[in-house]
């Protein structure tokens, strides 16, 4: 039980999402031990009677408030309601949410338009984040933990039909053998 207790204390003082690796280092156990214990803590916290929930995004975890207390907490923090999403923003976020991590060329192919500007906009707003591989051209995008919070989910995989849309054979067929569909090479090069 001491690992459970230690993780709870660390998550309580952390003011940013903590990686499983970081938690393992801090508690001197293996990442596998952390994974298992976080799994058990999720069972303890992630049910509707709990005011504390564990949000997992990729390999990071953080404590967040309950979706059922959202109205109350919004009022207490005097937060304003998040603004409306435009149609291109919503479409891009949806594809990145279901398919992330996703490359820009894959995203462009699914939407049929060049997404450089909308991606930049979503990154500035902190709804999408980029992960640069060592090879600069292998940048991939995924939604941020903040966007997961805005949806009231504790894991992006809770989206409806996630499994089905996350991996789609047809997309693989389109993306792998064929050349990319968009032509806007210039803009691609400049924005990335």
């Amino acid at each position: 039980m001491s690992l459970h207790r230690n993780l709870e204390s660390l998550l309580l003082v952390a003011t940013r999402p903590l990686s499983l690796k970081k938690l393992a280092e801090q508690t001197s156990v293996t990442v596998k031990d952390i994974e298992q214990t976080i799994g058990e803590l999720k069972q303890k916290y992630n049910h509707e009677n709990s005011g504390i929930q564990i949000l997992q995004h990729g390999s990071t975890v953080q404590f967040v408030t309950s979706p059922l207390a959202s109205k109350l907490v919004t009022a207490y923090l005097k937060e304003e309601q998040a603004g409306e999403l435009t149609r291109p923003a919503l479409e891009t976020l949806t594809i990145v949410a279901y398919r992330g991590p996703i490359s820009k060329i894959q995203l462009d192919t699914i939407r049929g338009v060049n997404c450089s500007l909308i991606l930049r906009h979503l990154m500035i707003k902190g709804l999408v984040e980029a992960k640069h591989a060592k090879d600069k051209y292998q940048t991939t995008y995924r939604v941020s933990a903040d966007f997961v919070r805005f949806l009231g989910l504790t894991d992006i995989t809770q989206l409806p039909d996630y499994e089905q849309l996350h991996v789609d054979e047809r997309l693989e067929q389109i993306l792998n053998p064929a050349a990319p569909v968009t032509v806007n090479e210039d803009v691609n090069r400049q924005a990335t």
């Binding site: 929930q53 279901y98 919070r149 805005f150 789609d168 389109i174 210039d186 090069r189």
Partner: protein, 242 residues
């Protein structure tokens, strides 16, 4: 062809999907061929479109024309799966348009989960980066500024330069009236980029449809010869450019 009534759309796949759905068709190569004319008509109706977006629309137009031509002349079917590819691409896009509705619903519930951003005992403690030298700051800032350059150039490439097929038709008509006949390659010599090549091709197709020009090809893969049809002829009306 039904009157096309597509209010607003978000890129070529969105336009295509709306056309197919308004005809209550399933996505297939046959229905893609069916809406090809409407798709091109919608393209022509767009008076102003940023040139970068237009390229995306034209790529889809070219694929549609290919699908349609193959259904009309089945024997001409070349080894090319771009028809199937477009069909799959559109199905995928349709699936994500549906998924976007779920996402919008979740987002609009405003059931935001809040993280912990601080706590009572948390007080700033001055802790400077030990090895930071003042000149290093200037270097980093210069790097940051340099990284801005591609982005500051971006608006210039996206400057709203509009191009439209009707102007291209006008231009080709003027040349044909002067020269009576010319090859497609001669026409293309005026094109500055891929987008214009496609625009020129679409313009020629449109002129053939309007019967203001005829196209002949002597052998397979030979250049296309474009001839102006007699403007005095009864069935021909001069193209009215609005």
């Amino acid at each position: 062809m039904r009157d096309v009534k597509v209010a607003t759309f978000n890129g070529p796949l969105d336009l295509l999907l709306q056309l197919i759905e308004s005809e209550e068709l399933d996505i297939s190569q046959v229905s893609l061929a069916n809406v090809t004319d409407q798709y091109i008509a919608s393209l022509q109706a767009m008076d102003e479109l940023p040139i970068d977006e237009l390229a995306d629309f034209l790529v889809v137009a070219a694929k549609l024309l290919l699908i349609k031509s193959r259904l009309l002349v089945p024997d001409a079917a070349a080894e090319d799966d771009s028809g199937l590819e477009l069909e799959h691409q559109l199905k995928m896009y349709q699936a994500f348009v549906a998924a976007a509705k779920h996402v919008a619903k979740l987002y609009n519930r405003h059931r935001v989960l809040y993280p912990r951003e601080g706590y009572a005992a948390m007080e700033p403690i001055f802790n400077p980066p030990e090895h930071l030298k003042i000149d290093h700051l200037r270097e980093i800032f210069s790097d940051v500024l340099k990284e801005l350059e591609p982005i500051t150039r971006l608006p210039q490439t996206v400057i709203v330069r509009t191009i439209n097929i009707r102007h291209k038709i006008e231009q080709i008509t003027q040349r044909l009236l002067a020269e009576k006949t010319m090859s497609f390659h001669q026409l293309l010599r005026q094109s500055n980029n891929k987008t214009e090549v496609i625009i020129t091709f679409l313009a020629v197709l449109e002129m053939v449809k309007l019967r203001t020009a005829a196209v002949a090809q002597e052998t397979l893969y030979a250049d296309l010869n474009i001839t102006a049809l007699d403007p005095e002829s009864e069935i021909l009306q001069p193209i009215v450019i609005s």
